[in-house]
Amino acid sequence: MDASFLDLLMAQQEEVTEAEGGGGIWVVADVVDGAIAPVTLEAIGAARNLAGSLGAYVYAVLLGDGVSGLAATLYQAGADGVRVADHPALASFAVEPYLEVLLNLFQAEGPEVILFGATPQGQELAPRVAQRLGGGLIEHATAMTLDEATRTVQAAIPIYGGQYFEIVACPQARPQVLTVEPGAFPAPFMDPYRKGEPKSIEVAPVEPRVRVLGPAEDFTPPPVPLAQAPVVVAAGRQAGDFGLVEQLAAALGGRVAGDRGARDAGWIGPEQIVDIRGVTVAPKVYVAVGIRGDTFHNAAIDNARFILAIHPDPTAPIFKVADLCIEGDPKEVLPALLAALGK
């Protein structure tokens, strides 16, 4: 069959039509740099899965200035209906104007479930929407299932940064409001033939109560202790060129550390030694450059979420605890890695 014929056939699909009668699952879209944020698309994908079991429609709400053109993306991601509040007063995010639009809309539509991205915007709006509508709020959902008997969404929330998850629900409160953790749900299939006609929302401008006075140029945040740093690049005796280690740390926005070998080489101070007798770390990313990995060091990085190890010796113990291992001389690997990172 000719591919163009298939295209023609698909294009004859009917436009998405909306149901009457309120309810449904509503996703409040995040717009970043003039595009729909990936977390919004992920939330629509998650909402579609719930909608199948719930027998509900999925709606998306888009707020901003000059954002009407983005509605097509929301339909393609799986929304059955899109509401657009396109107004100059919504050009930049502020709580009160956005909240006014959402509350008016939700009070009229009576949603069953409302999803926000767990983004700064979502975290400002979701609790206020839940409070005003008398709803329950589950923050940072990483998985969602449905208790079909009670039409209650059950969600997994990370505890201590994801060491384990609690499964929670708000069985009594309606609507059920959730914020969805970015990257936790797969991005939905974008169907280019899925279309619809978005509905406009009337916007009555509301003055924001929080005023931005300007950049805080004289403010410097306090340094993050090594134990709490989200990214750590640590050097060991085999690191070779410590300057490259510092470059990699700068490229990843991380802190420089090392093992006792790096301390002996005079590259780091005693407060930078990663070791159970020194500092125990739990970063999002830990890069061990030329660290052989003795028991004391490896125990101190046990709670790191991702470990990349670079060492020339294939039998180095660090390779038993690292998620990703590169056997090679750090003096050769680091320049290539920096080039691959575009630094």
């Binding site: 400002e124 609790p127 929670v168 929080v210 005023r211 990313v285 038993k320 590169i326 690997v333």
Partner: protein, 262 residues
Amino acid sequence: MRIIVILGRVLDPRGIVVNPRAGRIFINREEYRLQPADRCALELALRIKEASGAEVVALPRTFLPDDDVLRQALATGADRAVYIAGQPTALPDDGLMARVLVAAVEKLGGADLILTGATTLDTGQGQLGPRLAEALGWPQILGAWTAGVANGAVWAVRQDGAGYVKVEAPLPAVVTVVPGALKPRYPDGRRLINIYKGVGEIAAALERWEATDLVAPEALVPTLERRGQDFPPERERGTRLSGTLEEVARAAADALRARLSR
């Protein structure tokens, strides 16, 4: 001027071992401490008190089995603390506590500023501050690194993308503080001993209220229900990258980018 600071406690994660294979959490050392972000909020309240002479009142973030958190706040410099007695919930229930705390704020005779942590260390929840702001009809500044009060308004510095911006809101307002924003002071040893021994004025600064006296019994029904636990899949360690140096570097760079974006 009255500042209310809302404080909670957290089980020290250093005393916990999670075994995903067994599907169990082992608590080796049950030691509680102030939520790190709440501790910064208390420090901010005390700095504002020192600058403007405000009264600092500490309230609990959840129903606590004991009042240690509030005694610590008094020992650190708070002027008054109220222990709200109620049935502790399995997980912190900010929806329920917002109702109770709004009633407590009203019973205290109102406030000019409410400070609390922007997020909790264990559950990562940050809804209490904005819920209070909505219930009281006040503006909110979330995620402040520092803040101050001047001319009937509160200013704060908060992160905006890669930079920091200064924002301002009229009082009364709710401000939440990020963990690690300020270097908190330690409780004063003598005040702490006096509080526990019940000696002096400081001991009288700790009051006890019953939640049932603040809100109707139906308002004390928890919003959040705990339905189980789940554990992350076991990690596959020791994956070795192979190929040319460029291929290996590209694969490692992609993995790092993916991890950093989560």
